[in-house]
């Protein structure tokens, strides 16, 4: 049991810190959820990629540094401590790329990953549908076989980043006669500007178009954009979901930086003692999340899979994030009501946490049934 870093790890961390110090914009970029801000964030990805800092844990051949999980965590700590911008490519990098590494072809990786790493192509996810919230097995959007590929039809929703992104990935029902609803789904990538795609941006609570509805009308997808075998989409999607993804959805570095920002805000307000416990809990929670993630990463590097423990991770960060930002807004008093501030933007963002990527109710069911072994069936 050891928290110390090797000299090589320390050198990696120092390198990241030095690069960030000289490159992070001194004034915040415009909001990622605006057209102007999206473009600015895309340019920032290119700047990161130029010095191989955009996807540090990827293999060097696709633009990464083969950094491994621990160095990725160190990079994230430095990244957030430096106050660097949000990551416009996160959907592709943390959801699609791991799937391509596990289930894609060499050709797909060579074609998709480099432009993802530079931000030249920004990916949106297209999982949810209007009638399938947490119940992904009930997906109804379809992929129909056609010459040389597939025709997509139906509707996707809550597609984050889709308002301004280039391409999307998701599951489509390719065999409506499959004996079970989980079967007969195919994992596909498609172009958001292809004929037949209509993107309707959806504004989140603060009016920003953080996601979109996608209407798909005979959208052609060539066979080369199917990931894995047709009909195996569910298995492919799930096999990645339980691995690093659970760890990489929110990095501890993000919350370590947020907690220090909160402490700074509290001190700037004169350190009101009645709010001290909430600030302390934010500091403690960030440390707990960091160490919990180090432990999970160490287990993962030992060859263990993460599995249902990722439900603990998901509930923790999502509820932590809201509590931290509630504390910040309360500390700001009447000023906390202002929109378009950094605090309020992060607050609104945090509110989606307990809903998305499997609601926290479902995560608690998973913990009870799979980690604690309680009987299934009744809810």
């Amino acid at each position: 049991m050891d928290l110390s870093l090797t000299p090589a790890d320390e050198a990696f961390r120092a390198g990241a810190r030095a690069w960030l110090r000289s490159h992070v914009p001194s004034t915040p970029l415009p909001s990622l959820e605006t057209e102007e801000g999206f473009a600015a964030h895309r340019a920032w990805e290119a700047e990161l990629a130029a010095d191989r800092w955009s996807v540090v844990n990827w293999p060097a051949e696709y633009g990464g540094r083969d950094a491994g999980l621990i160095r990725w965590l160190l990079f994230e700590e430095e990244y957030h401590a430096a106050g660097a911008p949000g990551r416009v490519g996160q959907n592709g990098v943390s959801l699609l790329a791991p799937t391509l590494f596990d289930h894609g072809t060499e050709e797909q990786r060579a074609r998709v990953l480099p432009s993802m790493a530079t931000g030249e192509v920004v990916w949106a996810q297209a999982w949810s549908e209007p009638e399938a919230g947490s119940d992904l097995a009930s997906l109804r959007s379809r992929a129909v076989r056609t010459s040389g590929g597939w025709l997509l039809g139906g509707q996707k929703t809550w597609s984050s980043r889709a308002a301004f992104a280039d391409r999307a990935f998701g599951l489509f029902r390719s065999d409506p006669d499959a004996p079970k609803p989980h079967q007969g789904l195919t994992y596909l990538m498609f172009d958001l500007r292809a004929p037949g795609v209509t993107v309707r941006p959806i504004a989140r609570l603060d009016g920003k178009p953080a996601f979109a509805e996608l209407f798909l009308d005979d959208v052609f997808v060539p066979d080369e954009d199917v990931i894995g075998e047709p009909g195996q989409g569910w298995r492919i999607a799930m096999s990645t979901a339980g691995n690093e993804r659970g760890l990489m959805l929110r990095s501890p570095g993000r919350f370590l930086a947020s907690a220090e920002r909160l402490r700074g805000l509290w001190q700037a307000q004169g350190s009101p003692p009645e709010a001290g416990n909430r600030v302390a809990d934010a500091l403690i929670g960030a440390r707990a999340y960091q160490l919990f993630t180090y432990a999970a990463a160490s287990r993962f590097l030992d060859g263990e899979s993460i599995g249902p423990e990722s439900s603990l991770n998901k509930i923790f960060w999502s509820e932590y994030d809201i509590a931290l930002h509630e504390t910040a807004l309360d500390l700001l008093g009447a000023e906390g009501e202002l929109a378009d501030t950094d605090w309020s933007e992060r607050y609104v963002f945090s509110l989606a946490g307990p809903i998305y990527a499997g609601t926290n109710e479902i995560q608690r069911d998973i913990i009870a049934e799979r980690l604690l072994g309680l009987p299934k069936g009744r809810r």
Partner: protein, 339 residues
């Protein structure tokens, strides 16, 4: 001792509820947040006709008040329908003007406030209680209001001014609210220690009205969530049949139903500790209900286009308006033993 709304008070609530239901307030809020004031002004007039603003004005100034209980009854309904505009501020400004030692400003402004012809907004910096943060540093909807009052206080006395038109709005997390920095300068309406006393009483009313409004917001969020989970299905059954969903809504009901008597009780006593207790409890209950409502609605609840958002964002904004939770708890602690 009969701690129940009487038939007349219940009828008043019912008639306001009917009026506001018929007015399709969600579309009014959406107009208002785009800066289109017409539908909002029309609704404002009807609310004034129902006597809401006159409740804060003493009978000797041709009002119907002060009737704090009826004021809470009205503000619960205004919150329940997410009515936009400087409601708390207009009511509070009317009460403040009526209490000034010099009757001049009251004569000048009250008639048009009571009839709904004009709207008022009001800021206080720093607050009467002398906390570090101003209680009300922003002028709500100052572009729509024709009467913009600013109170500035020193240790010795308070000064009330009629402020000039405001600058650019600052966006609020609640799109139904537009905030403005405090306009400086303007005509002095009153000054002196007695003004400070009047301001102290007025802030108490602002806090109480905000508590009632928050309670109404919470009640609407609960009603909408109950309706939603009864029809929304997942895994083949209404999600309202899941025990985890039921218990979240039971907790929301619990919070709101214990805030309600505090709101009405504070109206009867107008004791600062009672008012602060009502404010923090109603706002916490509304805020907790908002969290539950969002969670149970899922992604649809997170969108601006779905009407739930009008109440969700208001619950957050009211939480810190006219006194944060910590400020209110401090008032409770400094109150003497009287319960």
């Amino acid at each position: 001792m009969r701690f129940l709304l009487d038939a007349e008070q219940r009828a008043f609530a019912d008639s306001l509820n009917a009026l506001l239901t018929a007015a399709d307030t969600p579309s009014v809020v959406r107009d208002w947040s785009r800066g289109e004031r017409k539908s909002g002004r029309a609704l404002w007039s009807r609310i004034a006709e129902a006597g809401v603003f006159a409740l804060a004005v003493p009978e000797e100034c041709e009002g119907l008040g002060p009737r704090p209980v009826e004021l809470t009854v009205a503000f619960i309904e205004l919150g329940r329908h997410a009515v936009p505009g400087p409601l708390v501020e207009t009511t509070t400004a009317a009460a403040l003007l009526a209490e000034l030692p010099d009757p001049g400003p009251a004569k000048r402004f009250l008639p048009s406030l009571a009839t709904g012809e004009t709207m008022a907004t009001l800021t206080c910096t720093p607050p009467p209680a002398g906390h570090g943060k101003p209680t009300a540093p922003y002028a709500l909807d100052a572009d729509a209001a024709t009467i913009r009052l600013t109170v500035s206080e020193s240790a010795a006395a308070a000064e009330l001014r009629l402020a000039p038109p405001p600058g650019r709005p600052l966006p609020s997390l609640d799109p139904g609210r537009r905030l403005f920095g405090v306009p400086s300068g303007g005509e002095v309406l009153a000054v002196g220690p007695q003004v400070g006393v009047a301001v102290g009483r007025a802030v108490l009313r602002a806090r109480l009205a905000t508590a009632a409004q928050a309670l109404g917001v919470g009640l609407a969020l609960l009603d909408r969530s109950v309706a939603y989970v009864r029809q929304r299905k997942q895994f083949g059954v209404p999600i309202g049949s899941f025990q985890a969903v039921k218990h979240q809504l039971a907790d929301a009901e619990l919070g709101l139903e214990f805030a309600r008597p505090l709101v009405h009780g504070a109206a009867l006593t107008m004791d600062p500790a009672d008012v602060a207790a009502a404010k923090v409890t109603a706002c916490e209950a509304a805020h907790a209900t908002a969290r539950t409502a969002l969670q149970l609605h899922g992604a649809i609840g997170y969108t601006a286009e779905y009407d739930l958002s009008l109440w969700l964002t208001k619950a957050r904004a009211l939480r810190t308006a006219w006194g944060t939770p910590d400020e209110c708890r401090t008032v409770v602690l400094s109150g003497g033993r009287r319960w």
